[in-house]
């Protein structure tokens, strides 16, 4: 049986590159002259809400990947990467949330881009990891090997942050656009896709748990509706379902927190309960995972606000 694992080195190299990029960015940012621009308040507010959403996702990823990679004993040095990027993304998001200036921030930008990249690379690693397991792309490996969907969450955080920066960058006198498309629509569609991805991940893991508790159906029923409503608003006429969409997104945001509560109860139900936390925190339902729904719902709300502030139809 082959047991050499070259991935460790590749990953270390990659994290070095990422680190260097970020560092370079910091240097660049320090040199950039500061030109204040006046932006409509609403756009900046939306951008800050996106930062908050990105931060919520980053926090969820940070703790979740810390626990999961601790289980994996960090046997591969690259497993530290998501912790670093998620921390940076969280920091950038906190900074962005507090920042009411109407322009993008180079460091935040770089960090967000790095987060997006990390997620992609991570997905690659996880696919590689699964392909090495006997059975290949089987249910068994989807359940228990490196989770395919998890790294995408850090990408989502990066993406939301990146979009937030684009918002701040948009032309002050026109409705905000990203790549020439109304910003609300872009963010709405991306968030909607992100929600569906997260639904798939929780669907997979709840299937692994055999939906033993009816509440486990909530994250595979509520968020898809939110995603559909948001997607419909982002792609079609905005006003039709505005109120419903908003309330549904709010409920989804709450669901994320409620999920954490449910998962905490699940951990307590493990053998030995909290006294056996070193096992149950890792083997039990992941406490930090559900708030990723909250983060995405927050982004959806921001998109919805943009769409309503700048109706383009």
């Amino acid at each position: 049986m082959k047991n050499d694992r070259p991935t460790g080195d590749i990953a270390t190299a990659l994290s070095l590159v990422t680190g260097a990029t970020i560092l370079g960015g910091i240097v660049l940012a320090c040199r950039k002259p500061h030109v204040p621009v006046k932006k409509p308040q609403a756009t900046v507010a939306a951008a800050r809400r996106l930062n908050r959403a990105a931060g919520t996702l980053a926090a969820s990823v940070l703790i979740d990947s810390a626990i999961e990679h601790y289980r994996g004993n960090f046997h591969n040095k690259a497993m530290i990467t998501p912790l670093v990027t998620a921390s940076l993304s969280l920091a950038a998001s906190l900074h962005g949330t507090a920042d009411s200036k109407g322009e993008a921030h180079v460091i935040r930008d770089l960090i967000y881009a790095g987060a997006g990249l990390t997620g992609l690379v991570g997905t690659g690693f996880h696919i590689f990891n699964i392909s090495k397991k006997p059975g290949g792309l089987s249910w068994q490996n989807l359940f228990y090997s490196a989770p395919l969907g998890a790294p995408a969450a850090i990408s989502l955080s990066g993406m939301l942050g990146f979009l937030s920066e684009r918002l701040r960058d948009s032309h002050p006198d026109m409705p905000p656009k990203i790549l020439g498309i109304p910003a609300g629509r872009v963010i709405g569609v991306m968030t909607s896709l992100g929600l569906m991805g997260t639904v798939a991940e929780s669907g997979l893991l709840h299937f692994r748990g055999a939906y033993h508790n009816p509440a486990m159906y909530l994250p595979v029923t509520m968020p898809p509706v939110a995603a559909a409503l948001l997607g419909a608003s982002a792609l079609g006429p905005i006003r039709r379902h505005g109120r419903l969409t908003r309330w549904w997104l709010r409920a989804t945001a709450l669901l994320g927190f409620a999920g954490t509560g449910f998962h905490a109860v699940g951990v307590a139900r493990g053998m030995g309960g909290w006294r056996n936390w070193r096992q149950n925190l890792v083997d039990g339902p992941p406490i930090p995972a559900p708030p990723s729904f909250t983060g995405l719902a927050m982004a959806g709300l921001a998109a919805l606000a943009l769409l309503e502030d700048h109706p383009d139809d």
């Binding site: 004993n73 006294r275 096992q279």
Partner: protein, 213 residues
Amino acid sequence: MTDRYPGYDVLAKRRTPSWNEPTRQVVNRRLAVPREPRYLTPPLFTVLDAVCQRILPQPTDRPPVPLAALVDDKLFTGLQDGFRYARMPDQGEAWRRGLAGLEEAAEAHYRLCFVKLSGEQQDDILRRMERGELSGGALGDMPATLFFEHRLILDIVTVYYAHPTAWSEMGYGGPASPRGYVRMGLDRRDPWEAAEAHDGDETKARLENGFVG
């Protein structure tokens, strides 16, 4: 024998979630087994003791396992296997005959009692029994090989590997309830499992084994 799991002591986990109350009581009782014979006569017990040292020579750097006392305890409490070969007497009788048979063989071959023999000589007698070369006398109609394999070896090996000293030396995680294990894959160790010393990193393993709780 080099220490593969330096510094690992399974008893260090006794107060952690890896041990439940029934397990603590069971192991406490085992560690406190009376060292004097309660079933065998003292002369036979000394033969048993000598046999045990040949069957399972003990590590010098870990607490010794009172093998003979543990075998005697099994006979005393009458814990049975659930079966008996048709050609074998019950376990107590088998042990009495078997030990007496060894004593007789020692006299016959070396004109000394078993405990006075050198290690090699004792092994020689034991091998003769294993090969079925001893018969009659105190053994009676009990087949020597059957006694050796299914009574003598089985009982001694069982009590040794049911003892924490053995668990520690072989790096076995030991009792595991309510806490079980998390890291299931190859080459993965939970923080409460023994760390193995690989070439040149004995210090690292020793350090990790200091934290197995």
